[in-house]
Each structure stands twice: as C-alpha cells, then as structure tokens.
C-alpha cells in the first residue's frame, strides 16, 4: 500500500513545496541538507570523527577547510559529525518529550477533575525543581550515557510541553463542538485525538520548533557544569563550549557550531511559520 501510494505522496509533497513561500522553501532545503549531512557524515567528512590531524588551532586552509580545534582535530569534520550526533539526540529527545507531555496534557484537559489535578500537581512538583539542578541530580545519580541523557532531558522537557498542551487544550475542551462530541457519546480518545488535537496542533508545532533548540542549549549548559555528552563524540553544544573563550579575542571559530544550531533553528521555525499560516486558514497574501 505504502509503496503504491508513495509516488503520489512525493508528488503532493513536491507540489506543496512548489507552492510554498520562499522562506519555507529555504527552511525545507536547509533541513534536508542537514539531514543528508547527518546521514552521510562518514562519507562527507575528510577525516575521522576523533582523528587528530594537525596541531591545535590551525587556520583555515585548503587542507583543513575550517581549521582545527583545540586538540588539532579537523573542525569541518567535527561539524559534520556533530550534525549526526546533535540532530539525532535532539530529535529523539524532543519527540519523546512531546509524546509524554502531549498525551498527559490532553488527558488532563479532556478528563478534567481528579486526573487533571493529579497530573498537574505531579508536573508542578517536577517543574518547581529548577531544570538544571534536577538534571544535575539525576545525571550524577544515573551517569551521563547518551540514553540517560536523552531520557532525563525528555522527562524534564515534557513537563513544559504538558503545561502548554493543557493550557491550550483546556480552552478548546470547553468549546461547543467538543461538548457536542461528548454529548454524541464519543470516547475520550476520540475527543482527544480528533476534536482537540487538530485544534491545538499549530501551537504545539510552534513549540516543537523551539523545544528542539532548547535541547541543544540544555546539553551545552550541562557541559558547562561538566556533565554532557561523552568524548570524543562531536556535538555542537559541547563544541561551542570548548571553543567559547576564543570569541573574546574576536575569533569566529565558536560561531561555527553556534551558527549551525542557529541556522537549523531558523530553518525549522520558518517551516513552522509556513505551516501555522496554512493551518490558521488565512487566505491573505
């Protein structure tokens, strides 16, 4: 089935892409570029991920396109591998956070009453402990392997998603058509997924675009406190941290990984904007 349909999906995709505004086209292109980079990192990178190829801080040259880092590893190679590790981790974390947060938020808004109270108070407890401190506690107890890192950040992030989902869903849950669905005798799962979710999706998607970036930031904040991704894995957050001092001398090296994160954030959010515009049903411009 999927196979039969896929040409049509691609065709619709292509026609959608053609009709998209320039900004969204730009965003989509960047995202695709990043994904390709992540997928083919070992083929694109001229050197190995942790390979020491020269002396530290070589300038930009034909041999080392973006120079070398503090240990003499090729900067371009690290950036390319960084795409793979960082995107992977951020994506898995954000998806996990949203699955957890959204389902709990929807359930709280739909069922109301004790379910809402219980979930909300639980989240209150989790959220009232500062994120970085909580992460510090959890990672110190459970160690800093990548799976632990993902789960810890996802759980902490999901509380934020829960809050937002609940806040917007609760507005929708009291609307007349939801009442009508209730009176029709629709089950709660139906109400959540068919009545509420489509109406709050735009807000959630906008949030997704931002949350995605926050994962990088949290990882980089954790590496500031000495927790974070295990070396010699290249990730953009830690790369910013490792070279950050250079910026005070006007050296642009740390801007490279930071810029890579920023460009992705901009790209994702341009696409999100396009989607929001499209979803809001505005027919203007």
């Amino acid at each position: 089935m999927t196979f039969l349909h896929s040409p049509r999906v691609i065709r619709t995709g292509v026609s959608k892409f053609k009709s998209a505004p320039l900004s969204a086209k730009f965003g989509i292109s960047i995202i695709i570029l990043y994904m390709l980079t992540a997928l083919f990192a070992p083929h694109l990178a001229p050197y190995g991920e942790a390979e020491i190829v020269a002396t530290p801080f070589e300038p930009w040259s034909a041999q080392f396109w973006l120079g070398t880092d503090n240990l003499g590893r090729d900067m371009f190679t690290r950036l390319v591998f960084g795409a793979r590790n960082t995107l992977g981790i951020a994506l898995v974390t954000t998806v996990l956070a949203f699955s957890l947060g959204c389902s709990a938020g929807l359930a709280a808004a739909t069922f109301g009453g004790w379910t809402d109270q219980l979930l909300s108070r639980l989240v209150d407890v989790l959220m009232s402990i500062p994120q970085l401190i909580f992460a510090l506690l959890l990672l110190s107890i459970f160690g800093t392997s990548i799976p632990t890192l993902i789960v810890v950040i996802a759980v902490l992030d999901s509380t934020r998603v829960f809050r937002l989902t609940r806040a917007v869903a609760i507005n929708v849950a009291v609307l007349d058509y939801v009442e009508a669905a209730r009176l029709r005798g629709e089950g709660p799962i139906w109400i959540m997924t068919r009545e509420i979710l489509p109406n709050i999706a735009p807000t959630l998607i906008a949030e997704f675009g931002l949350r995605f970036c926050f994962v990088f930031l949290l990882i980089s904040g954790l590496s500031f406190l000495g927790l974070g991704i295990q070396p010699p894995t290249a990730d953009w957050g830690s790369m910013v941290r490792d070279s950050a001092t250079l910026i005070t001398y006007g050296d642009v090296t740390p801007l490279l990984p930071a810029g890579a994160i920023a460009l992705l954030a901009v790209a994702i959010n341009l696409v999100v904007d396009w989607f929001l515009h499209w979803a809001s049903g505005l027919k203007e411009d």
Binding site: P21, S23, G112, Q117, R121, D124, V125, M127, S128, I129, P130, Q131, L132, I133, L136, L137, L138, S140, I141, R163, L164, A167, V168, I170, N171, V174, P202, T203, A206, E207, L210, C213, F214, F216, L217, S220, G221, F224, L225, G237, V240, R241, A244, I247, T248, G250, A258, I261, A262, A265, V266, N269, L270, D273, L276, H277, S280, G281, L282, D285
Partner: protein, 318 residues
C-alpha cells in the same frame, strides 16, 4: 468570583503539598548522590578516619529518615537551620542572595516582557513580511546560542571593546543603587536575550492562530484598523497561553540562571544551590529548593488565574 477564590484556596493547599513532596524528592535525591558532605568537603584528601570524624561532628551518623524529620520539624517552625559546611545560619546566608536573584530576574523581565509583547504583536501585524522575518531570524538566532555564549558576545562588545559596562557583576550590600544598575546591566541583558525569543514567538503564534476566527472577521468588517483588531480582539483571547509562557520564563529567570551567575560572578541563589549540591549540604539545598519551588508555585498560580479570567468559560462547571 467566588469560584476563583475557591480555586486559589485549593491551589495554595496543593502548593503546600507540592513543597513537601519537593523537599522529599530533593532530600532523597541528594541522599542518593554518591558521597556525602564529609567526603566532598575533604575531596581528594579524604581518609576514612577524617571522614568519620567529620560525619560524626555534623550528625551524619544519624539515620537519614530521622535527619529528614528533624529538618521538617524545624522548617515547620520557620527555622531553616544552619549550613553543614560552615555552620552559618541558612536564612542569613540566603537572604542577600535571594534579593540579588529577584532583582536580576525583575530587571531581565522589565526589559524582555514588554519587548516580547510588542515584538510579537508587530510580528503578527506584519506577518510574513520582511519585518516579521527579520524579527524572527534575529530572535531565533539569539536563542540558539547557549547562555554563556550570548554573555561572552555581549561582554566582547559592551565591556571589552566599548568599555561601557563592567564584565563582572561585583555587587554587595554596600553597592549604591546606580552601581547595582550598571553592574547588573550585562547579566540582565543576557537573560533578556535568552528568554525574549520564546515569549515573542508564543505571542505571535497565539495571535496569528486566532486570526481565522469569525469574530476577527467581524471586527475587520466593522472597519477597525488591523492593529486595533489585533490588540483589542485577538490579544485578549491569546493571553492565556502567552501568560503561561511568560510565567514559565519568569520562573526560569529566578530559578535557572546559574550559568549566567557563574559567567558574571553574580552572587545569586543559583550558584549557592549548585555549590551546595556538589558539597551535599542538604539543609542549604533544601532551603534553596523550597524557595525555588514556592516561587514557581506562586507564579504558576498567577498564570492559571489569569487564564481563567481571560477565558471565563473555564469557570463554568461541566
């Protein structure tokens, strides 16, 4: 209005419950961390004998649950106790730092919240134009940079190159109001940059999201200018989620700024709690956590009340 009072009452009660659970979690969490204050204070120079001596003198040889109840009893009497590491009165230790933290959060909020609202409205008003895109790209780029990096860039331009602001926030009780303002300028700016984008984006999204609604069309048909439609008709209905995001960010400004404190050497609560976690100084960690938790609970309550006031339908019993 009666039901609002009821909701608030209920939430305050739940808030107290939250605080209690937080204290349990934190106590258990710190207890689960490897090592205790004796080993952490002595560091590499710890020997079994000195560790045992230190433990005994700090009363750590008493079982954990008993220590927790002792702590709970004194906290209920309004006594935070003394820090294990240096025996100082915790209330005294925390007070100036709490003041610093609140002041910094307030300054950052004063800069960022109005900017976020105005920016969000402008962005929604000129949606999909160059202005919108420019605001978008700048704010997104700014939140993609880790806090310490934003701080370094601001320091480079405003302190190192221009030399107009100090790169250290060296404040104490004797600092004058003006001195404080200058000293706090860079950390406040950094934090404002960090939280601005999130609030701005949410303002824009929430407003744009409402523009397809019937009543907006009606308002437009009445011939109102677009900005009035936005501010008078769309904004009030969008305030629920905006308030939630603003409150989240305010809570962040108070509880999550340890990295900025480290970079600017600003004596706030964040540094204190990280130090205390590292040294396993449970009473101090507990006291800071409770303050953070209480802040959060209060702000959260405010957001919920605001949401309810904005959308009176929420009060209607189902």
């Amino acid at each position: 209005m009666e039901s609002i009072a009821k909701i608030i009452g209920q939430r305050v009660a739940f808030g107290a419950l939250t605080l209690w659970i937080v204290s349990l979690i934190i106590f258990a969490g710190v207890q689960l961390l490897p090592g205790d204050i004796a080993t952490e204070l002595l560091g590499q120079s710890a020997t079994p004998e000195t560790v045992a001596a230190l433990r005994k003198s700090l009363g750590l040889d008493i079982p954990a649950y008993l220590r927790y109840f002792d702590w709970l009893r004194s906290i209920l009497q309004g006594n935070f106790g003394t820090a294990l590491a240096n025996g100082r009165d915790i209330a005294e230790l925390i007070e100036p730092r709490l003041f610093n933290t609140l002041l910094l959060a307030a300054s950052a909020a004063v800069i960022s919240v109005p900017l976020a609202l105005i920016g969000g409205i402008v962005s929604a008003l000129y949606r999909n134009t160059f202005i919108d895109r420019a605001i978008n790209v700048v704010t997104l780029a700014s939140i993609s940079f880790p806090e310490f990096f934003v701080a370094y860039i601001l320091i480079l331009f405003l302190a190192v190159n221009a030399g107009i602001l100090p790169s250290l926030s060296d404040v104490d009780q004797s600092t004058s109001a003006l001195g404080r303002l200058t000293a706090m300028a860079l950390p406040a700016l950094t934090l404002a940059v960090v939280v601005l984008a999130h609030m701005l984006r949410m303002t824009r999204t929430s407003i744009v999201n409402l523009l397809g609604n019937q009543y907006i069309e009606t308002a437009r048909l009445k011939g109102l200018p677009e900005w009035r439609v936005l501010v008078r008709h769309a904004l009030p209905n969008a305030l629920g989620p905006i308030a939630t995001v603003i409150v989240l960010n305010l809570a962040y400004l108070i509880t999550g700024v340890v990295v900025v404190e480290v970079v600017f050497v600003y004596p706030g609560l964040g540094q204190l709690i990280v130090d205390s976690v590292q040294k396993r100084d449970i009473p101090v960690v507990q006291a800071c956590s409770l303050i953070f938790a209480a802040t959060y609970v209060l702000l959260n309550l405010t957001a919920d009340v605001l949401s309810i006031v904005m959308n009176p339908r929420l009060m209607r019993p189902k």
